[in-house]
Each structure stands twice: as structure tokens, then as C-alpha cells.
């Protein structure tokens, strides 16, 4: 019986805490942080393709690299070996045993 009374008292004391809780307040810098977050959101909204930038930069870098390698292979190797473009084409044609037709053949 004594325990029942104590239990009822504890329940009441615990539930009374709901009424006794002091309201919490924002600190002095709440508004500053809110303004910063708001400014960030507005700026992000004005840059809708921002998320594309890393992907775009990577793609452009990749394309540039491929172009540079292709250009180097195409022009750079001829200069080194001293071959002209025509002789190079002829040598490729010969290696594949193709016939180089010309209007003068007819």
C-alpha cells in the first residue's frame, strides 16, 4: 500500500514536469545564421547548373586530352620521321594492298 502511494506520487511528479518546463530561446546569432543560410539558398537557386560544373569540367578536360593525343599522333610522328602526309597514306595503302585509283588511270 505504501508503495502504491509512492508510485502514484512519482507518476504525478513526473507528469508535472511537462508543465514546469521552461521555454527555450534562440541565441543572439540565430538571425545571422538564418541570413547566411538564406543567402546560400538564394545563390544556389540562381546557379541552377552548378551541379553540372564538375561533370562539365571533367568532360571538357577529357575531350581536350583525346584531341591533343590524336593531334600529336597525326602530325607529330610525321615530323619526326620526315614523311609527308601523302607518303604516309601511300605506305598505309601499300601495306593493305589497296589500289590507289586516279582519274589518270582511265
Amino acid at each position: 500500500m505504501k508503495n502504491n502511494i509512492k508510485i502514484d506520487q512519482e507518476i504525478k511528479k513526473t507528469l508535472d514536469l511537462l508543465d514546469r518546463e521552461d521555454p527555450v530561446k534562440t541565441d543572439a546569432y540565430f538571425r545571422t545564421r538564418l541570413n547566411a543560410r538564406l543567402a546560400e539558398r538564394i545563390a544556389a537557386k540562381n546557379r541552377p547548373l552548378l551541379w553540372l560544373r564538375p561533370a562539365l569540367s571533367l568532360t571538357l578536360a577529357l575531350l581536350f586530352t583525346i584531341n591533343a593525343i590524336t593531334a600529336f599522333n597525326y602530325f607529330g610522328s610525321d615530323e619526326e620521321s620526315g614523311k609527308t602526309r601523302d607518303t604516309r597514306i601511300s605506305s598505309v595503302a601499300e601495306s593493305y594492298e589497296t589500289i590507289n585509283y586516279s582519274i589518270y588511270n582511265y
Binding site: 508510485i7 507518476i11 513526473t14 507528469l15 514536469l17 511537462l18 518546463e21 527555450v24 534562440t26
Partner: protein, 188 residues
Amino acid sequence: MTETEPGRLFDRLVEENKDLVYNLCYRILRNTEDAEDASQEVFISVYKSIDNFRGEADIRTWLYRIALNKALDIRKSKSAKKRAGIFLSIFGDNKPVMRLKAAYTSSPSRRVEDKERKEVLEEALNSIPEKQRTAILLSKIEGMPQKEIADIMRLSEGAVESLLSRAKKNLQDLLRDYYVSTLGETEG
């Protein structure tokens, strides 16, 4: 913010209601960082929709509703255990979703301090369905009347009354179980 009419209205809304919003968010989330995060998101939502706000509705109710939704969203995303509680509350389960943990000490002679009571109450609140918890927390904020709670939760006053009654009953049952296990069995 800007010196335009909506800008001035926004400034006024923030200054006059930041503590109200923060307090509500804190009561639901029980964490200062989460409460600040939720409060800021509330005012960002307000800023985005300030042009549509015509002022005819009660500003406090409007803000509280946004704050409640933001805080509950954060709370839901925080814990799978709480999501399970929400699932039960959606389907109208009135039973507490979990039992309170065992007592900190089994010694019946130990006096239960306020700090411990707060933790017990917190756990009990977390164990009752979401809508019941929301209703009782709102009712304890500045003695909010049932009509305002009903407006914020978009329910009838009768539904709020029922939620409050079930919440109190569930809290009492949970606390009784807890204190019986802590302070010892009853003697007939």
C-alpha cells in the same frame, strides 16, 4: 533582408516568432542543433511563400504548422525506431509502441531525482504514438488551447481531446510500469 514589403514582413515574422518556433521544434526534437536546423528551415519556407501569405490567417497557427511539419520530418528521418512508431500511429494504434527500459537502479530506497524523472518522461513520450505526443506537447506550450492545436494539426477539436486523453492514459500506464519495476511491486 530586402527593404521591400515582403522583406519587411519576413523580418517582422522572424523577430516576433523565432523563439516560439524554436521552442516548439526543441520540444519535439529535444536537441538544440536539430531545433535550430528545423527553425531555420521553417523561416526559409516562410521566406519562399511570403508572397502568397495574405495575412488573413492566424500567423502563429501558420508558423506553428510549418514548424511542426519540419520538426516531425527531421524526427522521422532521424530514427527507424521512431518511424515504426509513426507507422503504428497512422493506423490508429493506441497502445504504446515500447516499454520503458529497466530502472537505473533497482534499489527502492534511492530517491528518484528530477533529472532522472525528466529522462523517464522523455522516454515515455517517445513511446506513445506520434499524434498523441504532438498533441500533448502542443498543449503544454504556453497552455495552447485545444482549438489552436486542432487548427495546427488540421483535426477537429474532438479528435484533439481524444488524442490528449489517450496520451495521458498511455503516459500514466508507462510510468506506472516503470515505477513498479523501479520501486518494487505493490503490496495487494
